[in-house]
Amino acid sequence: MRYLLIAGALLASVLGVSAQQKSAADGIAEYRKMLEDGNPAELFEAKGEVLWKQRRGPRNASLERCDLGKGPGIVKGAWVELPRWFADTQRVQDLESRLLTCMETLQGLNAVEIAKTPFGRGEQVSMEALVAFISAESRGLKVSLPQSHREEQVMYEIGKRAFFFRGGPMDFSCSSCHNQAGQRVRLQDLPNLTVNPGDGVGFAAWPAYRVSSGELWSMQRRLNDCFRQQRFPYPGYASDVTIALGVYMGVNAKGAQSIAPALKR
């Protein structure tokens, strides 16, 4: 806790002094540098590694046999190739939906129940740690989602349509904020997600530790809060629209270097 307070104070001092002359991104970059050896996401990564290896659930099994796309148990490099097609489930799955599959088939946990659990509670807390660990194992690698399977291509097309889908009382779509580089909401820089926004930006920055809330946010949680602010109804956890958007953003970000789990305001 003390650690987080110090981190928050550091960020406040960096942003407070300079945010109004520099962009918020500059402030965050400076803050990241100061914390280079101490991103609080590391605490989640360590916990996630323990959870990956720990025997849990009704079947008292670990997740070490989980196939994240590169073969059972292979974690390194898996994150930068997700979402992708999985033959055993006959679905395109992102990291979180794939973890749900593994938690159910290997450990005997209830995937539907976990998906219904609010963020920050119960097994969703395990999920945060697991995505931190798994994404960190791809740190520095380039985003490279496979697009050879027809269903991966179909999900890209669905994701593109979902990205531009306007609705709700404010007529917003993802595209309202994320179709041009250099735009801001208040002081928050907005990446252009219709193209590769660059190394460590947009898709290549999530999951991330959020200083403002002291939480580790997966891509699922990032998308969930985007839809909240878009004034949409509530997207189901690991629902197909969120996976399709992951495919669309991930394929567009091909070649971007992943810094996940990144540090965010």
Binding site: Q20, S148, H149, R150, E151, Q153, V154, E157, I158, K160, R161, A162, F164, F165, R166, G167, G168, P169, M170, D171, F172, S173, S175, S176, C177, N179, G182, Q183, R184, V185, R186, L187, Q188, L190, T194, F227, R228, Q229, R231, F232, P233, Y234, P235, G236, S239, D240, V241, T242, A244
Partner: protein, 213 residues
């Protein structure tokens, strides 16, 4: 029997091969698939009901990476213009101080907001407005000196009427002037009340407002 088995195995291989390589569905079929996925993926939460996914003409026309054709855009703008409710008493301007509060307030209409809570205007999310506020977004144009730049010395004068009415219309239903405007339809979608819109109008057009200093 053995031949049959090999035959079936070969067919299975072909079937799997086809599933991975057959051409993508047509663009219209993908539109339909996307709509099905979107409708199936959301649930209602708090005040955010599923009818928020039911698109009207303008939302549908502005939901791709390409703008709609000129005829459709015209149709959207004409329909939007017809929805604008003009102030019955002819009073367009309220209190700029209240308008500034609304411009600052980004609350409202999310699933974490209450139904009876008053919405803000979220103006600073996208626009520069008053010069004192440095935390402003850039999705919309700067509105600093909005009235002054447009020569509004007296908002009640007949010469000011066109710009005053346009501004009211833009706030009420932005799509009347640009079919795919990024701006919410504050009056039409009941995000702001008439009185709140009057206050935002004053922020932009009252010569005493800091916006016009």
């Amino acid at each position: 029997m053995k031949t049959t088995f090999i035959g079936l195995a070969a067919l299975a291989v072909i079937a799997v091969g086809c599933a991975a390589t057959q051409p993508l569905p047509s663009s219209q079929e993908l539109d339909q698939k996307a709509l099905t996925v979107i409708k199936a993926s959301f649930r209602e939460q708090g005040i955010a009901k599923l009818d928020r996914l039911d698109q009207d003409l303008g939302q549908r026309a502005c939901s791709s990476d390409k703008p709609p054709g000129a005829d459709v855009a015209q149709q959207v703008e004409t329909a939007a213009l017809a929805t604008i409710k003009w102030p019955v008493d002819g009073r367009y301007l309220g209190d700029w101080k209240e308008g500034e509060k609304l411009a600052q307030n980004g609350r409202g209409a999310t699933w974490t907001d209450k139904a009876d809570a008053a919405n803000g205007g979220s103006c600073y999310n996208c626009h520069q407005i008053g010069k004192a506020e440095l935390s402003f977004g850039t999705i919309g144009p700067s509105l600093y000196n909005y009235g002054k730049l447009r020569g509004v010395a007296d908002p009640a004068s007949p010469t000011s009427a066109p710009i005053v009415q346009y501004t009211w219309g833009k706030l009420w239903n932005s799509k009347a002037y640009a079919a795919c405007s990024n701006m919410p339809r504050f009056g039409h979608a009941a995000l702001l009340t008439q009185d709140q819109i009057r206050d935002v109008m004053a922020l932009l057009l009252d010569p005493r407002s800091p916006v016009n200093q």
